[in-house]
Structure formats: structure tokens, C-alpha cells
């Protein structure tokens, strides 16, 4: 049972109930003084009537105050309500039914909550009277179709049926703002009903300021959907990949984080890994209350290219996001031809020992993305360069003419060259063959050798971390390791014709890049081994070499894409030839949507906004056409939407202040209730009060 007012602003006039008392007090203060002979008769009279007079006086005062109170209440138009008081009485109603279709409504109670919310919405619609109007507004995705207030119950019921659970978090600010906008038209009664599971996540970012213009006097009735029993509430927080690169045949270590939001331990929770729709591995775990457990999976991919996968949780009665999608871009092994210009009988003294170990630390064929093949300079004449993605020349004294021609051809086909100098290098030969001949391969002319004592060795100064090949060194620890390396032997060069990626502290270039057609050349002015620097002994050496080799190979290292969150856009970047072109994106529900690419710098770019379902999305295009860009990407539900913890009533009311919010249980709605307009009764009572006051006043 409750009492509410259709025009509550009039209640401010309740202050007027003090007027009779104020008049009384004012009159008491305003005393006329009269000199009179028969004061004894007055005293006698007063003594006689004193008790009854005072009683009547107070009754009169009470009646006058009551009359003012009744008048104010009458103006405020009170409605008495039993139960939740469905729409009856009090004049035509405009109502907005906000249906929470956030993902939590699906997960809580195994979709039962959303069904119950819809049933509640249907019940509300059936309670509408002639002249009442209502609108059904889902909290997510209501902007796709125009919404207006309407009185046809059948159409409203169809609107309810059309609402589907979305994959995102409810945006109550936007939904409520829309509701207030719909209720801007004046009506005798206006109400907003919000049918929700009150999941905390949706309200965390809610602020009343985000509502914009709204009338806080419109009652907001929040119908709490969902059982009172706390379900097993766990969700996949994320799936991460450990290690660097995803390559064919390489072990890939994935780790899924499972979070238990509940207060009970979850035992025997099945966690399954699916790759390309095949169950690759599964584990049974227990997750402590309010705890997080990492579940590791190892797998190998047999073919290069894109793979889709997901980790799924399985347990009866489990509420929360059970699936986390990802894609894997598997790279084929990179074959690297390493020419050792200073081979030694002791491998460790060999020019390429550290380089080969950096590319394949275990020395096994299947343990690395890189397959280095070391040859001596004599083999350069017969080796088939096309079998390799990268050629590394280390302290090779001179470049034979026959090799030079094949090297140029190789570079023009998109091959990569990694060039290290050393004490055997004949600079005249290099300059003549690789710099002076056209097109030049070297980015700069090699000048004199500079040899320093180990004590006077120069450290690496500038590191161009913005360059794709050195992005790894944005990490401070890696960069520190790299910059701690000391170089005591290097060749000076003329002003570099390419871009300098690494410089020594004294400013001399250490690593310079040059493009030769589609091919890439990375030129080190020092040696690959320990003869001229201690770089091979540094932690940074392995990632530096792997990253440089991957870069000059022209492709990306394989990687895992955790994707985007539902509701967020996905940006595609393609070669500039796609500017103005349209491509189709295939959503997880097989529906296709077009996107048009626009120029963005030297690339074509387009953002796909409609990531409203969790799953794998595909860009419908031939792989060759899009320059090796990924064609698939995953979209995951917001992790916190799995947290079914409900917001506290007081906290919610505090967030909604000054809106008049009332929180009701679903059971209360089912029990129904009635509303009674108290205006007429109050009017009769007011007349009776005024008559009584008049009669009593006459008696004085």
C-alpha cells in the first residue's frame, strides 16, 4: 500500500498549514488595551468557560489547519495504491516500459529472467486503460527503430516480443533519457517502469547528470527481476597467449582466466578449448569464492593462416559469460640464410653463432619460428635465394658480382637482407657493389673503421621505438638492456640515405634501414658476434634479432587477437587501393553488413560499428587482396556483464536522486493491486471540515 501524488509540486504548499497557527500567534501578540469597569465580570465569565473555551479554540485551530492540509492534498491529487497499483484511476496515463535486455538478463537464471521481464511487461501492457499510452524501450539497441507512445496493446505486446537480449551492458543513462524524452508531453499521469535484474555493472557508470533534461517528479518504478537465490556465477575474464609469435608447428601456450563472482566455491567446472570448431583440450577446475583461476592450454597449429577459437565453461546452473572468443594468426616458419664470413672450428667463435642461436635458441627444427641455415661465403654463388625469406650477411669480406645480381632480384621480389659488418669486410668492395652501383643496396657509404678500447666503448643511444621493427623496445626493461650494450668497433658511414633505427651514444648510426623495391634492407655498422660489441650477450639481443628478421621478411609474426568488446568498433586498415571500395562483414549470425573504406594517410581505413553480438566476425575478401591483413576478428561480451551481483536498493536510489524511484519485486506485480483516486473523498472531507469550522466558530 502506498500513497502518491499526481501533482506533487503542490505539496510545497503544505507550509500553508501553519498559516492558521501563525494567524493565531499573530493575534495573540496584537493586543488591544481597554480600561474597563466590569473586569470582574470578564474574569468570572472566563473562569466559567475557560476549559470548554480552550478546547473549542484548539479544535477550531485544528479544523482550520486540517482544512488547509486537505486543500493542499486535493490540489496535489493523491492516489491511494494497493500492491504495485497497476494503471487504474487518476486520469490518462503515459508510461514507458524500459526492458533491460543487457547480457546479464540472459545469464541470470538461464534466460528465465528475461522471459520473466517480458511477462511483466505484457502484464503492465494488459493493465492499460482506454486513453492510456505506453512505449516499450529496450535498454540496449533501442536506437535502431523509432519509438513512440501508443495506446494499441497488441502493437505494444509485439514490441515486447521483438526485444532480444543484447550482448552488451545496459546503458541506463541513455535509456532513461529516452524515456523522459518520450514523457515530455503533458499527461494526467506519467510513469516509467524499469524491468531489470539490477545487475551492478549496468549502474556503475550511471550518473544522473548523463540523463540531461528530465522531470524528476515522474515516478520511476523499478521492478526487480530474478530469483533471490544466488546462482553459481563465474565467467571467463580473458584468454591470453604466453610467449611471442604464433607459428605453424610451434607450441602455443594459451591461458584462460576464470573468475568466480559468487560467495560459493565452484567445483568441477569444465573448461574447454575449441580451435576451428574442434575441441582441442578440456580441464576440470575448482574456483574459490570471489577468486580467479588461470587455466593453461598448449596447442600446435598445423597450417599457417587464420584460426578461430574459443574457451568455454560448462556446468549446470552456471550463470555468467561462458565463452571467450579469439583468433590466431599462425605464421609459417621463416627460413633465414645466414652467411658466415668468419667461420671458426669452434662454433662459439664463429661469426654467426649468436645470431643463429638467437633465431633458434633450442637448435631444434620445430621449436622456433625461424629456420636459420648457415653457409660460408663460398656457397653464396650456388645457393637458391628464393628458398629463404631473409638473407643475413655477417662479416662477409666481399660481395661477388653473380651474387649481387641475384640479391637485387631477390630484394625486388620482396626479400629481406640483414647486413652485419666486421673486420673482414672490404669497404671498397661494399661501397662499389652495394652503394655506388644502381640501384644501391646500402643506405650509406661505408667509411673508415673505428676501433675503441673496451673502456672507451660507446653505448647505444637513440632507439627508434616507433619503428615497427623496434616496437618491442618500448618496454623499458628491454630498452635498458639494449642501451646497456657497449660497441667498441664499428664503421663510420656518410650521412644515411635511409632511416636510422639505432644510434650510438656519440651519434654514429648503428642500424639503418633502406627499402629496395618491396624488399627491405637492415644495415648494422658493427659485427654480429662479440668481436666488436657485447650486444650478443644482452637479453635484448634475441628479441631484437627475431624482431628485425621478422620485419625484413615483410610479414607479421603470428599473433593472437583477443578482439574487441561488444559495442565497440573494429577498424580495418587495408592497402590504399581499397579507398572508396565496399567490403562485406559477416556477423556471427551470418548477416552481412557493408563497410566503405576511406583514405587514412597512405592506407584505406574503415570502422565497423555493428559489433553487437559476441562471436567471430569475418571480412569477406580474398586474403591476397588485403595485403595479409587478418580477415577474422573476435568480439567478446563485456566481462563485467557476467557479474550478476545486484546493486543495493539504497545505493541505487542514491544514484537516482532526485528521481522518485521505487523498487518493487516481481511477485508484487503478479499480485496486482488497485489505485484509488482520493480527490473526491478529500473534497467531501474538506467541505465537512469547513462546515464544522463554521459551526464551531459560530458557537463562540
Amino acid at each position: 500500500m502506498s500513497l502518491f501524488f499526481l501533482h506533487p509540486l503542490y505539496l510545497l504548499a503544505l507550509a500553508a498549514t501553519t498559516v492558521p497557527l501563525l494567524i493565531h500567534l499573530l493575534n495573540r501578540r496584537k493586543v488591544k488595551r481597554i480600561r474597563f469597569p466590569a473586569v470582574r465580570f470578564i474574569l468570572l465569565s472566563q473562569r466559567r468557560i475557560s476549559r470548554s473555551y480552550r478546547l473549542r479554540h484548539w479544535i477550531l485551530l485544528a479544523l482550520r489547519t486540517f482544512a488547509v492540509l486537505l486543500l493542499v492534498l486535493l490540489l496535489a491529487h493523491p492516489i491511494f495504491q494497493t500492491g504495485v497499483g497497476l494503471f487504474a484511476g487518476g486520469g490518462p496515463l503515459s508510461a514507458v516500459i524500459l526492458l533491460d535486455n543487457s547480457l546479464s538478463m540472459k545469464w541470470s537464471g538461464g534466460s528465465e529472467d528475461f522471459k520473466q521481464a517480458k511477462e511483466a511487461a505484457r502484464l503492465l501492457i494488459s493493465s492499460l486503460n482506454d486513453g492510456d499510452r505506453a512505449a516499450v524501450v529496450p535498454t540496449n539497441g533501442f536506437d535502431k527503430s523509432p519509438i513512440r507512445l501508443k495506446g494499441e496493446k497488441e502493437i505494444l505486446a509485439r514490441d515486447v516480443e521483438a526485444v532480444q537480449v543484447s550482448a552488451g551492458t545496459a546503458d541506463f543513462s541513455v535509456a532513461l533519457a529516452r524515456a523522459y524524452e518520450l514523457l515530455r508531453e503533458p499527461a494526467a499521469q506519467r510513469e516509467i517502469w524499469l524491468l531489470t535484474d539490477m545487475a551492478l555493472t549496468g549502474w556503475e557508470n550511471f550518473t544522473i547528470a548523463a540523463l540531461g533534461q528530465h522531470d524528476p517528479l515522474i515516478p520511476l518504478k523499478i521492478l526487480r527481476i530474478g530469483g533471490k537465490e544466488e546462482p553459481l556465477n563465474a565467467a571467463l575474464k580473458e584468454v591470453k597467449m604466453r610467449g611471442h609469435g604464433v607459428g605453424v608447428g610451434l607450441p602455443i601456450h594459451l591461458e584462460a582466466s576464470v573468475v568466480n563472482f559468487g560467495d560459493r566455491e565452484i567445483k568441477d567446472l569444465l573448461v574447454q578449448l575449441y580451435i576451428d570448431e574442434r575441441n582441442r583440450e578440456q580441464k576440470l577446475i575448482s574456483v574459490p569464492p570471489k577468486g580467479e583461476v588461470g587455466v593453461g592450454f598448449m596447442l600446435q597449429l598445423a597450417r599457417p593462416g587464420e584460426h578461430q577459437g574459443y574457451v568455454a565453461l560448462k556446468k549446470d546452473g552456471l550463470a555468467g559469460n561462458p565463452i571467450s572468443y579469439f583468433t590466431l594468426q599462425a605464421q609459417d616458419k621463416l627460413r633465414v640464410l645466414v652467411v658466415d664470413g668468419d667461420p671458426q672450428t669452434a662454433l662459439v667463435q664463429s661469426e654467426t653463432f649468436f645470431l643463429a642461436r638467437a633465431l633458434n635458441p633450442a637448435g631444434e627444427r620445430d621449436s622456433s619460428l625461424f629456420l636459420p641455415t648457415v653457409i660460408i661465403p663460398e656457397g653464396m654463388g650456388s645457393v637458391a635465394l628464393d628458398a629463404y625469406q631473409v638473407v643475413a650477411l655477417c662479416n662477409v669480406s666481399a660481395v661477388p658480382d653473380a651474387f649481387l645480381a641475384r640479391l637485387r632480384e631477390y630484394l625486388h621480389k620482396g626479400g629481406g637482407l640483414l647486413l652485419f659488418l666486421g673486420d673482414r669486410v672490404e669497404t671498397e668492395n661494399y661501397n662499389a657493389r652495394l652503394f655506388d652501383s644502381s640501384p644501391p643496396v646500402l643506405p650509406a657509404r661505408i667509411r673508415e673503421k673505428r676501433t675503441l678500447s673496451e673502456a672507451a666503448a660507446e653505448k647505444i643511444g637513440e632507439v627508434e621505438t616507433a619503428h615497427p621493427a623496434l616496437q618491442l623496445f618500448a618496454d623499458e626493461r628491454l630498452r635498458d638492456s639494449l642501451q646497456s650494450a657497449k660497441v667498441h668497433g664499428y664503421f663510420r658511414t656518410d650521412r644515411a640515405g635511409g632511416s636510422t633505427l639505432l644510434s650510438l651514444a656519440g651519434g654514429a648510426p648503428l642500424l639503418v634501414e633502406k627499402r629496395v623495391g618491396p624488399g627491405r634492407v637492415l644495415f648494422f655498422t658493427t659485427a654480429a658476434d662479440r668481436d666488436w660489441s657485447d650486444l650478443p650477450l644482452k637479453t635484448a639481443y634475441l628479441p631484437l634479432l627475431q624482431s628485425l628478421v621478422s620485419y625484413v621478411a615483410g610479414g607479421k609474426r603470428g599473433a593472437m587477437d583477443p578482439g574487441v568488446i561488444v559495442g565497440n568498433p573494429k577498424t580495418f586498415t587495408l592497402p590504399p587501393s581499397y579507398v572508396g571500395k565496399s567490403l562485406q562483414v559477416i556477423k556471427p549470425d551470418r548477416k552481412e553488413r557493408g563497410i566503405i573504406f576511406a583514405a587514412a594517410g597512405e592506407k584505406a581505413s574503415a570502422a565497423f560499428q555493428e559489433n553487437d553480438l559476441a562471436g567471430i566476425y569475418r571480412l569477406a575478401s580474398a586474403a591476397a587482396d588485403i595485403g595479409g591483413a587478418a580477415q577474422m576478428y573476435p568480439v567478446n561480451s563485456p566481462f563485467l556483464e557476467s557479474r550478476l551481483e545486484a546493486i543495493g536498493e539504497q545505493e541505487l536510489k542514491r544514484k537516482l536522486e532526485p528521481i522518485r524511484a521505487e523498487i518493487l519485486d516481481r511477485e508484487a506485480l503478479e499480485k496486482g493491486g488497485t489505485r484509488t483516486d482520493l480527490s473526491l473523498s478529500l473534497l467531501f472531507l474538506l467541505i465537512a471540515t469547513l462546515a464544522s469550522e463554521g459551526w464551531l466558530a459560530q458557537r463562540f
Binding site: 469597569p37 466590569a38 473586569v39 463562540f700
Partner: protein, 296 residues
């Protein structure tokens, strides 16, 4: 009685006359014009004084013996002896100094007393005056001689309302001073203990006097016609104050006053005392007619 005649007795019209003699004469001549002049009831005369003859005096009243002695003409003046000695008792306490319509009870009482004195003396009866508050302010014994009226009027004119009332005690005191029985006319608002007042009146009766009580009350004292919140301060007892809403107690007040008046009237009747309630708005002929009714 025509309207013109009524004006003779209108207290407001009388108030405009400054001279008490004129007022009294105005009232008495007004009422006497309508009735037959009665002759003197006295049966003996008593020499009082000589005065020099003046033209117009009756020759027979010349004292020839005095002419022989002093060689001048003297006229012998006699005091009429009458069988009525009237004591006019006027309350001059502060409570009488109240007027809601422009005429105080005191002024009204003065005119009433003056008129009665004029009338009594005109009818050859003896009239005396006693003014009192909580003590006797003046005492003029009743006499029937000519010119005595002016003495009474002078005494009235010198009197101002002041002091508290103690009617009962004063009546007992006056009763003690009265040597011969007669008519006692009390003009007062009787704002004192009614039993004390009646005790005094009964003593007058016990001594064989006739008693007429003219109870003067202002219209406001009868009706309490005030509004709003009022602080009433007593005219006599200044410490007596009360704040009230007159509207709320008016009905009870009227009842209290009525009970008081009824009580006094009943007691007077039981003691053969003529009682006349005279609101100050009442024309004075009512009082005089009442007196003449008794005299007749």
C-alpha cells in the same frame, strides 16, 4: 411622546449643556410640561432668614417689626417644612468614569441626581446629596429651602470620579448619619459585592426609609461589544487585568451580568426597594418617570 420632546432626555443632547442647572431644568421642565403641577404637600413653615426687599416682593411678606428697628424693609424668608426628605446618593468611584458612547456613567448620574434634586425641591420636598467612593466625599443634608438646589449642583459640579467603590460599607455609614427617615435614592453602577450593597440597602429599609436604586451601566458593560484580543484593565483596581477574546466570552459575559442584575433586582424586590436598571443610553425621563411613579 413626540421626538421633539424626547430630545429633552437624550443623554447626548444633555451632555452638550455645560451647566448642570440647565441640564436639570431642561430635563424636569421637559417632563413636567406633560403633567399637572402638584401643590406643596408641607403643612408648616419655619423662619429661616431676612433679606432686603426688592420690587416685586409681596407686601404682606414685609417684616414690619424689622422696619421699626432698622428703618429698612426686610422680607422674611421661611423654609417650607415637608413630609419628604430625599437623600440622593451618587457613586463617584472611578468605575463611574466610563463611557462607550460619549456619556460617562458619572455624567449621566450627575444629571440624573441634579434633575431629581430640581424636581424634589420644586415640589417643596427636602433634597440632600451624598457623594461617595470608598468614602463619603460630600454630605449635604436634605433641606427644602429655596436656593438649596444651587448648593447641591455646586457640590456635584465640584465632584470628579475617582477612587475605588465600597458601596456596601458606605451605605451603612450613611444610614448611621441619617437622623430622620425619608427617601434614599442610590445612583451607582453597583460594581461591588452585591451582598454588601444589599446589606446596606436593607439597613435603610430597616430604618423605615424608602429606597430607590438607579443602577447605571454603560451599554458596553452590558454587551461587551469588543473584538480581537483585548487586555482589559480595571478602572478602579489597576492590578486587575485580563487578556481575552471578548467574542469568545461575550455570551457568558452577558449571562453573568444578567445574573448579577437579576440577583440585585430580586433582592430589591424582596426588600421593597425600587430598582431601576439604567443603561447610560436610556433617556433620563425613564428615571424621572420612575421616581414620579413612586412619588405619585
Amino acid at each position: 411622546m413626540s421626538n421633539g420632546e424626547r430630545d429633552y432626555f437624550d443623554p447626548l443632547i444633555l451632555a452638550r449643556l455645560s451647566n448642570l442647572y440647565l441640564k436639570a431644568r431642561w430635563v424636569v421642565e421637559g417632563i413636567m410640561s406633560g403633567i399637572h403641577r402638584s401643590r406643596s404637600k408641607g403643612f408648616s413653615v419655619e423662619f429661616e432668614e431676612h433679606r432686603e426687599y426688592s420690587p416685586g416682593d409681596e407686601i404682606r411678606r414685609i417684616d414690619w417689626k424689622a422696619l421699626g428697628k432698622f428703618d429698612r424693609y426686610f422680607i422674611k424668608e421661611y423654609e417650607d417644612e415637608t413630609n419628604l426628605r430625599a437623600y440622593l446618593l451618587l457613586d463617584t468611584s472611578a468605575s463611574m468614569d466610563y463611557a462607550s458612547n460619549g456619556v460617562t456613567k458619572f455624567d449621566y448620574g450627575c444629571v440624573l441626581v441634579a434633575s431629581l434634586a430640581y424636581l424634589i425641591l420644586k415640589q417643596q420636598d427636602a433634597a440632600g446629596l451624598v457623594t461617595f467612593s470608598n468614602r463619603i466625599e460630600s454630605f449635604i443634608p436634605p433641606k427644602a429651602r429655596r436656593g438649596y438646589l444651587m448648593e447641591i449642583l455646586r457640590a456635584l459640579e465640584q465632584q470628579r470620579p475617582a477612587g475605588e467603590t465600597n458601596v456596601g460599607q458606605i451605605l451603612l455609614e450613611i444610614a448611621g448619619k441619617m437622623k430622620r427617615r425619608g427617601l434614599v435614592i442610590l445612583v451607582s453602577d453597583l460594581l461591588d459585592e452585591p451582598d454588601e450593597i444589599l446589606k446596606g440597602l436593607r439597613l435603610f429599609r430597616f430604618k423605615g426609609n424608602d429606597v430607590i436604586v438607579f443602577h447605571l451601566l454603560d451599554a458596553a458593560e452590558l454587551d461587551l461589544p469588543f473584538d480581537g484580543n483585548v487586555l482589559f484593565e480595571d478602572l478602579e483596581e489597576t492590578s486587575l487585568k485580563v487578556t481575552t477574546d471578548p467574542q469568545s466570552i461575550r455570551k457568558t459575559y452577558r449571562k453573568v451580568v444578567e445574573e448579577f442584575v437579576d440577583h440585585v433586582r430580586k433582592e430589591c424586590r424582596e426588600n421593597s426597594i425600587d430598582y431601576q436598571l439604567l443603561p447610560t443610553s436610556t433617556p433620563l425621563d425613564h428615571a424621572l418617570v420612575s421616581y414620579l411613579g413612586w412619588r405619585g
